[in-house]
Symmetry: C2
Subunit: 255 residues, 2 copies
Amino acid sequence: MSKTPTPSGGFGPSIQALDPWTPSAGRMRQLLTDDERARLAVMSTIVRFKKGEIIYQEGDRADAVFNLNSGIVTTYSKAPRGREHVVAFLLADDLFGLSAEGLYTNSTRALTAVTAYRLPVAALRSRLTKDAELEFHIMCKLCQELRQARHHAFLLSQRSAVTKLAMFLQLFEQLQIAKGEPASEIHLPMDRSDIGEYTGITLAAVSRGFRTLTIRGIIKVRDRHHVRIVDRSGFEKITGDPPQSPTQLVEAGRN
Amino acid sequence: MSKTPTPSGGFGPSIQALDPWTPSAGRMRQLLTDDERARLAVMSTIVRFKKGEIIYQEGDRADAVFNLNSGIVTTYSKAPRGREHVVAFLLADDLFGLSAEGLYTNSTRALTAVTAYRLPVAALRSRLTKDAELEFHIMCKLCQELRQARHHAFLLSQRSAVTKLAMFLQLFEQLQIAKGEPASEIHLPMDRSDIGEYTGITLAAVSRGFRTLTIRGIIKVRDRHHVRIVDRSGFEKITGDPPQSPTQLVEAGRN
DNA sequence: CGGCCGGTTGAGTACAATCAATTCTGGTGG
DNA sequence: CCACCAGAATTGATTGTACTCAACCGGCCG
């Protein structure tokens, strides 16, 4: 039980997040005990989706919550003028199926082939109200999702397209680190238009953004889905994020 | 203490939200039982803040969570180039004090005079892991905050400044409705620059936005803090929000 | 009365959206 | 293996919107 090769490691639903209250150096940890995973496993079914398949749509009756096991999922919603807004990219060990008043608040689609645990809300709910420990762990995950949503909003509040793009790259880099994967190269499983819909800029602007970052010698694009940051300090100048050193923030007001 | 016009009614911490799983026609309800409120009350202290006072800052040790009793609070974070990004406006019955790895993830400031319950995390945490019922209610509130954060991101992803502004007005209108307050006129407690920092546009753009909406006959600005929507369909054309009455939502849920 | 703060308005500019043409890439079948 | 194709991505030219900077307004308070 010491070594966990896959992030999940073992069987049953799996949830990873940063603990809201104890330091962990940016690394996520498994929130569920083996016991809890087993208890969740008995109430869940495994579901599979093909690449591009829609898992549920906004407004559908929300009778299940999902725990992503493998693959990538996007949750999105319709925006005026036929555009789509990507709410989040879901990775392994994420939870999705948020609802309000009994209806899903977003649609979700499999970006790759996907396997997930499907947890009926009725069963989950009755389990939760009996098992405070488990519920606490799920609450931690919700806190994490909340932080991510707010980070997304922060990203979207930036004016410059390249800043948004850089922050997006930073997000995925941090995600890889948090998952314990090698982070020398950033893996972007989605395509350019998905990035555009997440960052709130057009496909064309995403492309131009990658180009300007490349020309400025800040990143190196190996292929569509792999980017490396070659000028870290230039990169941080754009994201405005000197890693965790508040003292430097004072000088950051330049340019 | 003078009178209790507060939607809370009664004593002790109070939490309102839309239930994620049961329909409620857009109205929030009190999530906590009197009993739970009493239990939370014993572990909490009442704190007061003057207008403009900072409640905590990003990076501070997060040893307490707050439950807003009266007044308005903003949570914000620093953006590049000395700008500030408003993460959320908190109203009565809201919960705040989100942390990651033991540190607050944002700063908060009292926008008006404020009273709040201060709940030490240690006590709260040990209470929660014993009381699944209470914890469930807090989880519901977290779901609500998550939805709001995502709505904020959605707002920020809009390209047009007037659209953002209209969606902002819509947000506060719905909030008033959810709280059971009269909604014929929208009350905006914050000033123009706060609106700008929330919607991701400049102070000047906010001003122009109000002007164009007024000129187009869509809204009527009584004073700095009071707006009325006079052309509903024109308004909805801008927000792109086909009037989703609760009844229609239910039908949308049927596959 | 004068200064200050929050807000409005104006002129010029920069940046990203748009529309459109072109290239690149990966996959398929001949 | 290559030719071909379709979709993804890049690039170009043009336009429009919102930012910037700055002047100005009006209420409020000393």
